[in-house]
């Protein structure tokens, strides 16, 4: 049973690593600030949730479970707020957009 939970933890760990790595790759490869925010905020939330689930599966105590849930709730609130504020500030500072951007509702 312990081995089963360890393998479940390994699966969660690799899934979280996948999301984290895709986010870092997107931050390097995407063309402008808004695309990069899109990559950074969402994928890192999912990746960290995966890593926390892995820790909870492996250690299996109530202490780590409660703390993992606390960190998950905090992330689910904090990451979108940070991304939204940063995108609004970048729009206000007129950070240049990618040439292929199809619509800009803030242009007015």
């Amino acid at each position: 049973m312990n081995t089963f939970f360890d393998i479940l933890a390994a699966v969660f760990l690799l899934a979280g690593l996948f999301f984290f790595f895709v986010g870092a790759l997107g931050v390097v490869r995407l063309p402008d600030v808004y695309h990069r925010l899109h990559a950074a905020s969402k994928s890192s939330t999912l990746g960290l949730i995966g890593l926390l689930l892995a820790a909870a599966c492996h250690l299996g105590t109530a202490e780590v479970g409660v703390k993992a849930i606390a960190v998950m709730l905090f992330l689910c609130v904090a990451n979108p707020i940070g991304g939204h504020l940063l995108a609004k500030a970048a729009l206000k500072a007129k950070t240049p957009q990618w040439d292929g951007t199809l619509s800009d509702e803030s242009a007015g």
Partner: protein, 148 residues
């Protein structure tokens, strides 16, 4: 005065580090399955590679918002590495650091976003946006004096 402080402080810190290391190795009673150990190594390597990518964006990023989002993602990578270390050591000692680093990363992101928002378009607070070479010269090399 400073030398005295160093002579008392350094051995204390070293002893504390030793105690922490023994604490970890004694308490690491939870056995780790080989598959999970392999996954932990892979995750440590992948997270380190992701940190290098974030650092590249932090150095290169043409605008200040790019650098701020790279720093935010860097802080989240630190949280991820702390969680993988928790799994690897089988010990909760570092788990508090995850929440602390996460909160500090969020607060710094919000602070920088407010700074960008408040100083947008002000000539005395250049954000490092580099649409034209003249702006780049003014931002990166103040020794040459203001451009005409």
């Amino acid at each position: 005065m400073t030398a005295d402080l160093l002579h008392t402080l350094v051995p204390t810190l070293l002893a504390a580090g030793d105690a922490a290391a023994h604490h970890v190795s004694d308490d690491a009673a939870v056995s780790v399955a080989p598959a999970l150990l392999f996954a932990a190594y892979v995750a440590l390597g992948g997270l380190s590679l992701g940190m290098v990518l974030c650092l590249w964006r932090l150095v290169r990023g043409p605008s200040l918002a790019d650098r701020v989002l790279a720093a935010d993602l860097l802080a989240l990578h630190v949280v991820g590495i702390v969680i993988v270390l928790t799994i690897y050591l089988g010990d909760m000692v570092f788990f508090e650091a995850a929440l602390a680093v996460g909160i500090m990363g969020f607060v710094s992101t919000v602070g920088f976003a407010q700074y960008i928002h408040a100083t947008a378009g002000r000539a005395d607070h250049p954000h490092g946006d580099a649409p034209d070479p003249a702006n780049v010269r003014r931002v990166t090399d103040p020794a040459q004096g203001a451009p005409a």
